[in-house]
């Protein structure tokens, strides 16, 4: 890397540091929100949905900013696209299994 490019890179990184701290603080606020939301009785299903929505937002922040997925090379997006497809297939199988599962067979 030339000195000029290195200097440019350093400047870019120092600009991001503030962003990392803000994301960290947001994640902690998100954690507190998840805990508070669990004390509000919204009905079992809505409690689950809300908790998972907050968790997904937090996970997205980690993936996009800490793991730099917001600006990555095509190759990594391709790998992740396959991961998403296989993960969705796995969850699809789970839903399928749920519908063929006799009710309340799991005791204890």
């Amino acid at each position: 890397m030339s000195d000029h490019a290195q200097a440019h890179d350093d400047h870019d990184v120092s600009k991001h540091i503030r962003g990392y701290l803000i994301i960290g603080a947001t994640l902690i606020v998100g954690t507190v929100l998840t805990v508070l939301a669990s004390y509000v009785d919204l009905g079992h299903h809505w409690n689950i949905i809300l908790a998972l929505v907050i968790a997904t937002i937090k996970a997205s922040l980690v993936a996009l900013f800490f793991m730099h997925l917001i600006s990555e090379k095509q190759m990594i997006y391709t790998v992740l696209a396959f991961t998403v497809i296989f993960f969705c297939a796995l969850m699809f199988l789970t839903i399928g299994a749920y519908h063929s599962l006799p009710v309340h067979t799991v005791t204890h």
């Binding site: 540091i17 902690i28 805990v35 998972l52 996970a59 800490f66 090379k73 790998v79 309340h104 799991v106």
Partner: protein
């Protein structure tokens, strides 16, 4: 023979090899944890509400541990940024903070595990009377602990020891009452129980229920990841040779270890609400 593309990007992918490697590894990790999450979903929806324990985990401790892991994610990304800005001293400080956070997480988790091993549930052959919110009610299931905080008590062990009666410090609520019952404050009630009346007794261990089986599987596997990550981070923090020989490669090492660490944080972000709060 020199390994190619350890620091410079490969022309066709635009990435150094380790980065492709770690992302492929993380993709496989998504499937590993995904499979266990789907097992959790099936076990949970397949069980009756009263058989699925909730509120048995300590929420403040779990919240604190989540914060510890989030802070460690911030420190590891700061360590990487410090190297990018040529500040090796700061890098070392942030790396040590990350390792300390990892150790704190594991330490807190082990205390939580210990607490679970001391807690027991008793299933009774005939109902006994206990107090619930000041009222006397008949119950056949109790949770609580022994006065001497014994761990891993089972019925065969009690019988083998020739015990006839046990003194049990019963919890003020049982998880089958309602979702938020366990979060209410209350005093423990000392109950004397004849061993002959006990159908089953189990500590909160994997054998207790499918809930604890999946809880220990998920959190145990996650803790192993934290331990593995901490060892790698400690190694990177303590070795400075690579920084002198090839600074770019050292920066890449930290980035790759950081990607793994963020993934471990990401898994916990889902584990915490699913296991502690729902």
């Amino acid at each position: 023979m020199e390994i190619p593309y350890t620091s410079k990007p490969r022309p066709d992918t635009g990435l150094y090899n380790a980065k492709i490697g770690i992302w492929l590894f993380l993709a496989s990790e998504v499937m590993l944890f995904g499979a266990l999450f789907s097992s959790y979903i099936l076990l949970r929806v397949g069980s009756r509400v009263e058989d699925w324990p909730s509120g048995l985990l300590n929420i403040p401790i779990g919240t604190f541990n989540t914060a510890v892991l989030i802070i460690s994610s911030v420190t590891v990304v700061m360590a990487w940024a410090s190297l990018k800005m040529n500040q090796f001293g700061k890098f070392k400080m942030y790396m040590i903070c990350t390792v300390l956070c990892a150790l704190a997480f594991l330490c807190i988790k082990s205390f939580e595990y210990r607490d679970k091993f001391m807690h027991h549930e008793i299933w009774l052959n005939k109902a006994i009377t206990v107090k619930r919110d000041g009222k006397e009610v008949e119950v056949t299931r109790l949770t609580g602990h022994f006065e001497d905080h014994r761990m891993f008590v089972t019925l065969p062990k009690l019988k083998a020891a020739g015990t006839e009666h046990i003194e049990f410090e019963a919890d003020p609520h049982h998880y089958s009452e309602d979702k938020l019952a366990m979060r209410k404050k209350g005093e423990h009630e000392k109950v004397e129980i004849a061993v002959a009346d006990i159908k089953r007794i189990s500590a909160f261990v994997p054998a207790h229920s499918t809930y604890f089986a999946i809880y220990f599987t998920l959190t145990g596997l996650h803790a192993l990841h934290v331990l593995g990550g901490a060892v790698v981070m400690a190694f990177i923090a303590c070795s400075s040779g690579m920084w002198k020989r090839d600074p770019e490669r050292q920066t890449n090492r930290v980035e790759v270890a950081g990607l793994f660490w963020h993934f471990v944080d990401l898994v916990w972000i889902f584990l915490f609400p699913v296991l502690y709060l729902l």
